[in-house]
Assembly symmetry: C2
Homo-oligomer: 420 residues x 2
């Protein structure tokens, strides 16, 4: 329902870092932008694990897309789901049947979990991509301790207090480290029949080391910091089975009522609508200007794009998505004025990962930090980049409080009412 206009119509699919940064970069352009997202909010995904582990509440790390873009008059925000792309006549179709014609299209619909052909594991090993995922994981974690407190059977109780995180990338490391902190510190003194600090937290990585995208020395440091926090790190062993009772490593079955999945990522299924070749993870290999080969009017940004630079894939991290988004804005501008688009070049400012309370690793092109100093660096960077002024203050206060008190204020179990 856009008003009739002769201005070029830009459709942006996805309000994550790629789509939002492209949209904002076009704020001064004489175009009509429609930003479509299935959810009403932009999510600061790097802090999503904090919602899952009850340290932050949902609104702390999310802001309504409409609100972020309220003053950008060339944008219309639409809550909706894209179900088709009519490439010959240049229009996307939404689940409610509406057709949105475009002159340029940006697909920035991100990524989802992948279970490597074991989709049946998704029920017992939830992954972490959306706020609803985070609240579901929070519910599981907190309920496991509650059920253990009420349990008379020592074996069952041990299984309830056995937690596993599958995947030793940044998300897995964050989840495992924070889980150990919750068990050892946050819940201290609160139970009468169990000692939460006896909970076992295992981090399972199929590859040879955690945080494989970091230099080996930092991986080793990260593993030591995890172990100091109380996490048992298992490397070099893939998980071979997961069910409601636990998981298997080779022939060995490990009872664990709570298994979280942080191992696999697959690009959004929207890439399949383009009918072009995709890589193993479902990403779309793009031309140097981030357009789809053969379709100079369609662009990809963020986790859905497969970009190889200097022989290495550009990683699926927030800074890369933002840079791609900003580049697509430039490429669209070039295309609309008939000029050739410049080639995208990823600027890698470094790599950060947090592990838990006062523990992190930082790699800034060979300048390496770990431990407390790295944690402060990580904290400052993340709060600084959090969208919206208000959120930053609240998140800082929450963190300061959590730091001094070891408490996590969002330990509220939601979603118990079947009806809602």
């Amino acid at each position: 329902m856009s008003s009739p206009s002769a201005r070029p119509r830009i459709v942006v699919v996805g309000g994550g870092f790629g789509g939002l940064w492209a949209t904002r970069a076009l704020s001064g352009d004489d175009v009509d932008i429609t930003l479509i997202d299935r959810r009403n909010h932009h999510l600061f995904q790097p802090l999503l694990y904090q919602v899952a582990t009850a340290g932050l509440s949902s609104p702390d790390i999310a802001a309504p897309l409409r609100h972020i873009l309220r003053n950008q008059r060339n944008v219309e925000v639409r809550l909706g789901e894209v179900t088709g792309i009519d490439m010959p006549s240049r229009a996307v179709t939404l689940a409610d049947g509406e057709r949105l014609p475009y002159d340029c299209l940006l697909l920035a619909s991100g990524a989802t979990h992948a279970y490597f052909g074991h989709d049946e594991w998704s029920r017992d090993a939830p992954g972490l991509k959306t706020l609803d995922d985070a609240l579901a994981i929070r519910r599981r974690l907190l309920l496991a301790f509650e059920q253990a407190e009420a349990c008379d059977d020592p074996q069952e109780r041990a299984a309830l207090l056995s937690f596993a995180v599958v995947g030793g990338g940044p998300t897995g490391v964050e989840l495992a480290g924070t889980l150990a902190e919750i068990a050892r510190h946050t819940l201290k003194r609160e139970f009468r029949n169990i000692d939460p600090s006896h909970a076992r937290v295992r981090l399972i990585e199929a590859g040879p080391r955690v945080l494989a995208s970091f230099p080996e020395s930092l991986s080793a440091k990260a593993q030591r910091q995890l172990e100091k926090l109380g996490v048992e790190v298992v490397t070099g062993t893939p998980v071979s089975a997961i069910d409601g009772r636990g998981f298997a490593l080779g022939d060995q079955f490990v009872p664990a009522r709570t298994v979280l999945w942080a191992a696999g990522v697959a690009a959004s299924p929207l890439g399949a609508l383009l009918g072009v070749e995709r890589d193993r993870a479902g990403r779309v290999p793009v031309a140097s200007d981030l357009s789809v080969p053969g379709h100079p009017e369609i662009f990809i940004a963020g986790d859905l794009a497969s970009v190889v630079q200097d022989g290495k894939p550009v990683p699926g991290v927030a800074p890369a998505a933002k840079q791609m988004g900003a580049h697509v804005a430039m490429a669209i501008r070039a295309r609309l004025s008939g000029k050739p688009a410049p080639a995208f070049r990823y600027r890698d400012f470094g790599n950060l990962a947090t592990i838990g309370r006062m523990a992190a690793v930082v790699d800034l092109h060979g300048f390496k930090l770990s431990g407390l100093l790295a944690w402060w660096f990580w904290l400052a960077a993340h709060v600084f980049f959090l969208i919206g002024f208000r959120n930053r203050i609240i998140v800082l206060i929450n963190w300061a409080w959590a730091y001094w008190s070891y408490q996590r204020h969002a330990r509220i179990i939601l979603g118990q009412d079947k009806a809602t």
Copy 2:
């Protein structure tokens, strides 16, 4: 699974104001208390409408019961649902089959919505009692504006922008006032196809005036303040039908896609387990010491108790529940030491209701306030009574921010993922 002990066993059902205040008042006593709740948190119910209307997030007004009681060593907190009371052998049974024997029992399980024999209305007119209720209402409100923005049909769009709140008590007045504020101020400039300030907000009260528990002059002032905020107040007319398209007042059908229920309250069904006479709302008439007649070892506090004082029922408000809880602690102590329990006497400190931004009414035994001054009074009282030091600061910051910016930070639609 309590450890064997010769100390008197107190079972408290419900961690609301009644149950929690009784439990805390017994902190110094030589007893073993088990506090059972279906949810893991104490909820500051007077601010629940703020979660429903996206002004606060869930953890702002809730705290884990375990955490509140962590230092009270004579309490064990149990997440669980009471399904039976074996009065002859003095034990409650839980849904998981466990039996908890008691020497004294306190039932403080509160109230739920009542649809006056029209339970079929519950699907289309949700009520507000739990955090899950609040998040479901928040989702409906925000989705109505989103759907209106995407809607081409003027009639359907008007129905989507038509909101009704049934029931002119404090909760209905708060919801209607805040809804009008959201439509007129918060969402300003954020939509492109609709003008949210054209939304119609109706407050329907079957009786002759809103806030019937206040003096007539304050009811009139409240109605004028509501109308100034943009609410259409309809009194003297009961709703005769509700479905997914709207509601009926007598013969007149009013299209409204969002109808909220704030009209009826029924006491918790646990009262029925006692097998004693109950009043029309399901409340249990209690003896002067708040015990169940014929069962001096069973007490009732809060919304489940029917207490008549000076010919008038004690109202179902937080201060009354707290006072009853504290009194039950005294009565239990008296009973355990073989002394007669004193009679409960409700101290009415006054009556407050908020209407919306800078609008409220206050009645302190004839000393009446309304408007801005009443609003500041209401705000101070509610933030002061909010449990937990941390929450107070965060809530104050959120409120200060909302006040100056007209923004509501929790406008995040949750619960869209079918799987969670």
